[in-house]
Each structure stands twice: as C-alpha cells, then as structure tokens.
C-alpha cells in the first residue's frame, strides 16, 4: 500500500484533486495552496490543547449559571448543577449533562494528548486503533455544546423579572472557550501523520 506522498502526489486539502507536487504551487481546480500535510499540524494541535487545559479550570470551578431569586443569588458550577439534578430525582439527565460537559472535554484533552505523545515518541501501536480513537474523540467533541444550549434555553424561559431569573456566569464563557479550542485542536490534527510513521518521513510540510 502506497501513500500519495510517497508517489510524489498530493491531495488538495479543499477539493480532493490528486496533483503532482511542486513547491508553492496551487490546485488547478480550486486554487488552494498544495501541501503534503497540514502545515505545523502538531504544533497547532498542541497549542489549542494546552490553551484548552488552562480554560478547563475556570470552566469547572466558576459558576456556569447564576439563579437570582428575590435578590438572592445562587451560583451553580457544572458539578453542582449535576448534583442538584441527581437530588431532584432525574439521574438520567444528570448522567447526560455530566458526560457531555465534564467527561467529554476532559477525555478529549487527555485522548488528544495521548495520541500526540504516542505519535511523537513513535510508540508502537496499531494505526487503525489510534485512528478509531481519534475519530471517536472528534465525533464526541461537538456534544459538549449541549450544556451551553441547555443554558440558553433555561435563560430564555425562566425570566420572571424580580422573582426568578437565570443568567449565565463567567464559567460559561470559559466553558465555551474549551469547546471551541478542543474542536479546533481536532481540526488542526492531520491524521495522515499517523501512517507516515511507517516511513521515516519528515513532518515539516
């Protein structure tokens, strides 16, 4: 089995046309710049991932919503929201929210980190396994938007002026940043690098 790169061919990143490679040349069909691999893929992925690592702390410890009832403010973090759900007798929803907003972002950061490290240390591991792991991380990542959507709906319906209002807290901003950063991390990771390991290819372009 031969990679296109080894045959001196390059797949256009935008329109998938297979072209012969020349430095700084563009795709004859869509005019995109042709490169064998995404430029600086690993560096970019690390950068997004590490930034997400920082933001995940305020996302979990700062209040994601604040309930204001008759002037009294009750802040809720992601975890305390989940606990309230369990106590109010809806463990199913509690599990969904817990998985989508705590497990998924954390697993995504750890999983991507593991893939990157195993790639850079050239650990001996099935490429297919690593790829399936990445595919899963990539697919599951979008579901962490769930909590933000839920908050937007709750904020909209629970609005009784002085009586009862819910507003998003600073944790929501941090959480939104984590979601975007992990999505960008997955997007800037070039999976073809995994198979490049078989040959001692350079990763520069």
């Amino acid at each position: 089995m031969q990679s296109a790169k080894d045959a001196g061919l390059v797949r256009c990143s935008e329109c998938a046309l297979v072209c012969s490679f020349q430095k700084n040349s563009r795709c004859p069909r869509c005019n995109a710049l042709l490169t064998f691999r995404q430029t600086n893929s690993l560096q970019k992925t690390w950068a997004f991932l590490l930034t997400a690592c920082i933001f995940i702390i305020p996302a979990n410890f700062m209040p994601i919503t604040v309930l204001i009832s008759q002037g009294k403010e009750t802040p809720d973090t992601i975890l305390s929201g989940v606990i309230t759900l369990v106590e109010s007798g809806s463990p199913g929803i509690a599990i969904i929210v817990f998985v989508a907003s705590i497990v998924v972002p954390l697993a995504k950061i750890l999983g991507m980190g593991f893939i990157l490290i195993s790639l850079q240390l050239k650990l001996n591991m099935s490429h297919r396994m690593r790829f399936i792991m990445f595919k899963f991380i990539d697919w599951v990542g979008r579901w962490s938007m769930l909590d933000l959507f839920v908050i937007s709906i709750m904020v909209a319906v629970i609005d009784k002026g002085q009586l009862l209002v819910i507003v998003p807290g600073p944790g929501a901003t941090a959480f939104a940043s984590v979601v975007i950063l992990t999505l960008l991390a997955a997007k800037s990771f070039d999976t073809r690098l995994m198979w490049d390991l078989e040959k001692d290819n350079d990763w520069t372009n």
Binding site: C15, R26, C30, F131, W143, I151, V155, A176
Partner: protein, 208 residues
C-alpha cells in the same frame, strides 16, 4: 503561476493518504479506504436536482423553526414562550456576547449558510450554469458542516425540557415540529451530499 499536473483517475484517502485508482460505482455504492476504513467516495442516489429540493425545503423550514416558539411554559400564573432566536437574544442581552455568538453560530448561522451554499451549488450544477462562485460555495459547505450542530441542539432541548417539567406546566410549540423536520432533512442532506461529484463539475484551468 505554475500549474500542477493532475490525475482525476486517482484518489487519495483524506485520513491516511492511501493512493488508489478510482473505480466506477453503482448507484448508492460506497468506496471505503482499505487501510483506515473511512469513506473515500460514493455514488449518491440523490441527484443535484433532488439535493436542490431538499436544501430548499430545509431553508424554508429554518425560519419557522427559529421564529415560532419551541415551547410555552406556565409558571407562577404567567406564560412564557421561547423560540430558538429568543433564547439566543436573551444571552446577548445578558451581555455575554461570546457565548451568545457561539450558540447563535452553531444553532442558526452555520446550518443556514451551509444549506444556502449547498442550495446555490446544486442550483448552479442542476442548470449547468457557469460561475466562478461554485468553488467558493463548495468550500463553504465543507467548512460549515463541522459547525452546524442541529442534532446537538435537539438533544439539549430535550434535556432542558426534562429539567423544566418539574417546575412548570409545559406546552410544546409549532417551532419544535419545524425544528425536528429541519433536523431530519439536514441529516438526509449530509448523508446524500457527494462532494466528489460536485467538485467534478468545477472546470479545471488548462495546464500551462
């Protein structure tokens, strides 16, 4: 500018770069990569004309899905209704522009622009029009599908619903029906959209 030689009979896997010769497929058949198992190309049973119809329907549904109430809620004697656009506007009013924009983008703008681009591209291809915009439209479709999160929104709505059931009397609205339909058509569009055959309709500049 030097233009590259190209070879339309070859296909390289997006995810593992495996090089292969393109085979003719029967209608509805899918070619998968033998090395990593991802989808290489397929012969969609949905013509650009049907795609045009699907995307148009979705675009029309998008308006009631956004503007009509998803639910109305009776609590402490008064009734509140909430539509998708209202839900986003509220967060804008609270002053959290970043979160509001992200929600607005993933639930409304990205699906809308993605369907609009695909609708225009299908129109151009169905009627064999010549336009330099086709490339750009197809690129937009590709970028925006990642950020279009209708299915996540629907599940979020169900989660919010179960949270609210205990607090108040809830009545589901017309907007929800439209939103469900929109989501179904959107997933049909995504599974039938054959980017390869669309790209093949983009004329290639002569190699100089």
């Amino acid at each position: 500018m030097a233009m590259n030689k190209y070879n339309e009979t070859l296909v390289a896997c997006e995810h593992c770069d495996l090089l292969q010769v393109k085979q003719r497929l029967q209608l509805g058949q899918i070619a998968t990569c033998p090395r990593c198992g991802s989808r290489l190309y397929f012969n969609s049973s949905c013509s650009p004309m049907s795609m045009l119809a699907l995307t148009l329907t979705a675009l029309i549904l998008l308006f009631p899905a956004n503007l009509y109430p998803l639910l109305s809620m009776t609590m402490v004697g008064s009734t509140e209704t909430a539509s998708l656009s209202q839900a986003t506007l509220k967060i804008f009013h609270e002053g959290n522009y970043f979160v509001a924009f992200l929600i607005f983008f993933c639930s409304t703008i990205a699906p809308f622009l993605m369907l609009l681009s695909l609708c225009c591209a299908s129109f151009v291809i169905s009627f064999n029009l010549q336009t330099r915009w086709l490339k750009q439209l197809l690129k937009w479709v590709d970028y925006l599908t990642h950020w279009s999160m209708l299915e996540v929104y629907l599940v979020s709505f169900l989660v919010a619903l179960i949270k609210l059931v205990d607090l108040a009397d809830i009545e589901l609205g017309v907007g929800l029906v439209c939103f469900c339909l929109l989501m179904i058509i959107n997933s049909l569009v995504l599974s039938y959209y054959d980017s390869n055959s669309y790209w093949q309709r983009v004329p290639i500049d002569a190699v100089s």
